[in-house]
Amino acid sequence: MARRITATDSADPGGPLLEVTDLKTHFLTPRGRVRAVDGVSLTLERGRTLGIVGESGSGKTVLSRSIMGLLPKSNVERTGSIKYEGTEISGYSQSEMQSVWGPEMAMIFQDPMTSLNPVMKIGRQITESLRYHLDMDKAEAHELAVSLLKSVGIPEPAKRVKEYPHQLSGGMRQRVVIAIALACGPKLLFGDEPTTALDVTVQAQILNLLDAQQRERFMAMILVTHDLGVVAGRAHDIAVMYAGKIVEKASAKTLFSSMRMPYTEALLESIPKLEHKSHTRLASIPGRPPDLANPPRGCLFAPRCRYAQPQCLEEEPPLVEGDTPDHQYRCHFPVGTPAGDEALARNKAEGRTIHADDVEVDVSVATSAPAGGAS
């Protein structure tokens, strides 16, 4: 078994670090085929940050785990191409992936209260991968573990390595999780909602820490979150996911200045703003994501969309190029275009935003059948 991935030697160093093409990840459940990730393509250059944004059930977590190959084999069907440093890794076996996990790709899990082993000392949880992947001896690994803990801002690291996770606060634990992920110097770091389980006061600290580490190590990062606020100002590019598909993708600047997809607009509006008066009603997106085992025809967001027209319920919009390069979206009536303005004006004039009367899909159906399996 090869311990180190050989991709580094054979690949063209100028190519992208990660290239995902038409990735599909379907769960075969008793209810049927759940299309958690349904044809996602993305490219990530070295040292860049990609934010993947979507609400619960949009498939963003499954996407990151699927790229990393962390999903179970049984009842999961994964197709498409995943190229890491130019090497196709989608066909790798579990033991081949073991040399990718750690030194090449690492993941920060969502909840630091459950992602550390409760019965193992923190030091050991860091040193075990150092010893296995980097062939360090006990003393070297211990020394590096202490300096890793120091670099993620843990006070008294020499003392902390001998402690157990329950002796640390949530924020400190997430720092330990980050230290573990960084231990073997990965080139690609996945952050799966890395701050969602933390106190708001700690969130910014952890995000800043990730930023600093990323710049220092020239590491690529995929930041998965439901909160556009988390990726704003941190991600170079943002992909918005809805119902297992990327519905809009652009550089962060373009996305925030000239978004085209009504879903992106709705996500942005649902972030509470400080300048709102108190007791302002929080904006929300009506309904729920569609049932991924039984997706509706047409645009998957149409039943919840205030721009939706009869065409949207019949015809799925393709991913089209926007005005600027690297901007893509799926919408028949894009926000900020004459077509979109006209659609919105028409809906407003008719006093309704959802054309549900002449088709079988309406909001109540979408609401009563929540998406299962995918989160």
């Binding site: 962390l70 996990w101 899990f109 082993n117 409760p118 193992m120 002796q167 573990i180």
Partner: protein
């Protein structure tokens, strides 16, 4: 340390309660006069001995006082004298106790050595044919009573292949592994199923935990994930069960001892019961109660070793 102190106090309370009941029951069952009568009958002593015997039993004292006197002697190892065999009970007890403890310890070691890998494999391959095969085999073992298993094993290993003795020496030594093999295995196989099922269930739950996903994402080997990360947090039920069944086995080896002609605690207590050897019965039950309580105390301590979160409670 506070943890240990609290548990030690609990240990004493439980032990006093258990032995007090045993002490009272052995006398209350027949009544003091009946006990004195049977002692005199066995000794073929005259009525003049009666006063002596009655004094030896502290028959005029109230029950709690008699218990305290008995317990005071018992902690120094003095359980009185068997009037049937005419020897000190403690002398009668030592060798059988060592043999039975050795039998139980060996049986548990065998059971754990078989159950842990089986439970881990069954959990790791949950709901596959491997899991079903291992689980079915284990249930099959559980369904066979240990005395039937013993006879089958004797037939196989002692009669047919002649590799292990089917009957042990009357002065069996505790490190005579060859003689201990068949009795221990007979007791162990029934335990394997219980331990394996418990470990499998806990392990399946543990393997769903985030920290296992994280260990996998670190690129550790499957073996390392299963044994270093998943086994310890999955073993609390197993440890509890091993503790409880060790206590139960110490008092429950009678049939196996009979089959292999092993002079252990079971053999001792059966003889004592048939011969109304009151002091021996008291001593055996006290020792078993002590072992039971002590083992569960050790199990409690072991929880703290397994799970650091318990230590700070």
């Amino acid at each position: 340390m506070k943890f240990v102190a609290v548990r030690a106090v609990q240990l004493v309370v439980v032990l006093v309660t258990a032995t007090f009941f045993v002490f009272s029951l052995t006398f209350l069952a027949d009544g003091d006069d009946a006990v004195v009568d049977s002692i005199l009958q066995i000794e073929a002593g005259s009525e003049t001995r009666r006063a002596e015997v009655e004094e030896g039993l502290n028959i005029d004292d109230p029950l709690p006082v008699r218990y305290v006197k008995w317990a005071g002697d018992a902690v120094t190892g003095d359980f009185g004298r068997s009037y049937v065999l005419g020897r000190d009970v403690s002398d009668l007890l030592v060798e059988p106790l060592k043999r039975t403890l050795a039998l139980v310890v060996y049986a548990q070691i065998i059971a754990i050595l078989l159950a842990v890998p089986a439970g881990i494999i069954a959990a790791y391959r949950a709901n596959t044919w491997i899991d079903r095969g291992v689980s079915t085999g284990a249930i099959g073992l559980l369904a066979v009573p240990n005395y039937v298993m013993a006879i089958f094993l004797v037939f196989l290993f002692a009669s047919t292949w002649k590799v292990f003795p089917g009957i042990v020496d009357s002065d069996l030594q505790i490190f005579d592994f060859k003689s201990y093999f068949l009795p221990s295995l007979s007791l162990a196989l029934g335990q394997v199923a219980v331990y394996m099922r418990l470990l499998r269930t806990d392990m399946i739950a543990t393997l769903q935990e985030d920290f296992i996903g994280m260990a996998k994402a670190k690129g550790l080997t499957t073996r390392s994930i299963l044994f270093r990360h998943a086994l310890r947090p999955s073993s609390l039920s197993l440890v509890t069960s091993v503790g409880l069944s060790t206590g139960a086995l110490i008092g429950g080896t009678v049939i196996i001892e009979q089959i292999f002609a092993m002079p252990g605690m079971g053999t001792l207590v059966v003889r004592a019961i048939f011969q109304d050897d009151i002091f021996v019965i008291q001593a055996v039950v006290a020792v078993i109660a002590f072992a039971f309580v002590l083992i569960n105390f050790l199990v409690d301590l072991f929880y703290a070793v397994l799970d650091p979160r318990i230590r700070s409670v």
